[in-house]
Amino acid sequence: MQWVGALLFICTTTWIGFEWSNRLANRPKHIRQVKNALQILEAEMMYSQLPLQDAFHTIKNQTPFPIHAFFDRLYKNMNQESKDFGIVWQNSLDELMDISCLGNNEKEILLQFGQTLGQHDFLQQQKHIQLAASHLDRELEDASEQYQKYGKMTKSLGVLCGLFIVLLLL
């Protein structure tokens, strides 16, 4: 019985370790996806001159989960009339944080960016997109570095922690 319990415990800690490592691996991936989405947004604004809602629709069709879900939510909720866009953006962002591996810094960048969306002329808007993209670049670098550093370690750390505690208890 003891052995079964120990095995289950090790399995759990291993799973936690893998999950953690997974989050580390996914963060740069998701940041990259957000950056791609910003690029599409820029193109839709500059060249197609689409209104925001239509631009969101295009982006939603071109991006994978979870960014897809974020723009899908934005697109749908902008239809609800006379709601403040800032609030729609913030709520969508909160949901994105729950389903993606983005960190707080990315959230802050996107929150700031949302305030500027649709409030400026082409040139200013482009600058804001580029600013957000360069901030995201910095975070991307940081996230990749963290993954390099801790990605493999967290995986083995889970197993080893489990083993260690089991040994202590047995």
Partner: protein, 300 residues
């Protein structure tokens, strides 16, 4: 009037609704100024809405609604100082202007708004159609001061010609709508009823538009608003030479006054127009002071 009321923040919406009540049909303009009472202009009087002082946030809200949260798309509108919204209503903008090399680039801080409510009066031109037709449509010039209903009239003429009336079959009509007033198009879709056989060139300079229309759409009748410049007149003559009938309007009070304007004078002397409709501001919308023939002789 849902398309107008939805522009405003909820507080102002409520005030507007309770003040205007069922008088929407008499309302001509809603004027907003930053931190000043909202002004309502009806046909016969003007009213203040003292409870509604639009602040900066209210303006941001309205501009966001106007631009669909996409101010970057309004470059043209911010330069021209007006935009057309759903339903053909026009919103005039004023505030701080940014210039680039001496030319207006955009209005940056919008602090004054004037919402002009479009009135589509279907049927105002019915009475005059027999005067414009004699074995075919006649070149017609509509003369009137601002706010006398030139555009309303010309829009209805377009509708009637392109739908047909009595025994007259519908004709192909081309409308050059430089200031988006006749058709009030949004993304090229007319918001007003212009009849079945009407094609619209929206926001296009008149002189170029007339030639483009003739080349591309082969209209039988061209409808143009507010001709004035020499280029317009040249294009008009060219259109007439191409065998197209032209119905257009011009700012002015009387025929005598028009004869003093060099560009228009040439048109009158050459008897280009066969009918002149003179509108009067003292009479109600779409009423005439007179209809004259090519010689300037009064017919009605």
């Amino acid at each position: 009037m849902e398309e107008i009321i939805r522009l405003f923040p909820e507080g102002i919406q409520h005030e507007l609704n309770s003040r205007i009540g069922n008088r929407w049909d008499q309302l001509q303009e809603i004027r907003l100024r930053l931190n000043r009472p909202l002004e309502l202009i009806f046909h016969t009087k003007q009213e203040w809405l003292n409870q509604a002082l639009p602040n900066k946030l209210d303006f941001v809200h309205i501009i966001n609604q106007l631009s669909e949260y996409s101010l970057y798309r309004m470059e043209e509108e911010l330069r021209e100082g007006y935009m057309t919204i759903e339903g053909g209503h026009r919103v005039g903008l004023a505030g701080k202007v940014n210039t680039l090399n001496g030319a207006v680039k955009a209005i940056q801080f919008i602090t004054f708004l004037n919402i002009r409510i479009a009135k589509e009066k279907i049927g105002v031109a019915t009475k005059i159609m027999p005067y414009l037709y004699h074995q075919g449509y006649l070149n017609t010039l509509i003369v009137g001061a601002p706010q006398t209903g030139k555009t309303t009239l010309i829009r209805d003429i377009a509708r009637i010609i392109s739908t047909g009336w009595k025994n007259v079959p519908a004709k192909k009509v081309g409308v050059i709508d430089e200031r988006s007033e006749i058709a009030a198009s949004i993304k090229g879709v007319p918001q007003h009823d212009l009849g079945l056989r009407t094609d619209v060139m929206d926001a296009c300079p008149k002189a170029e538009g007339m030639m483009m229309m003739i080349r591309s759409m082969s209209p039988e009748i061209l409808i143009v608003d507010e001709i004035g410049g020499k280029k317009d007149v040249d294009a008009l003559l060219e259109a007439l030479n191409a065998g197209v009938v032209v119905v257009c309007s011009v700012h002015g009070q009387t025929l005598e006054e028009l004869k003093k304007r060099p560009t228009i004078q040439a048109l009158i002397n050459q008897r280009i127009f066969h009918r002149y409709l003179i509108l009067d501001s003292t009479l109600s919308l779409g009423r005439f002071r007179g209809i004259h023939d090519a010689e300037g002789k009064r017919m009605s």
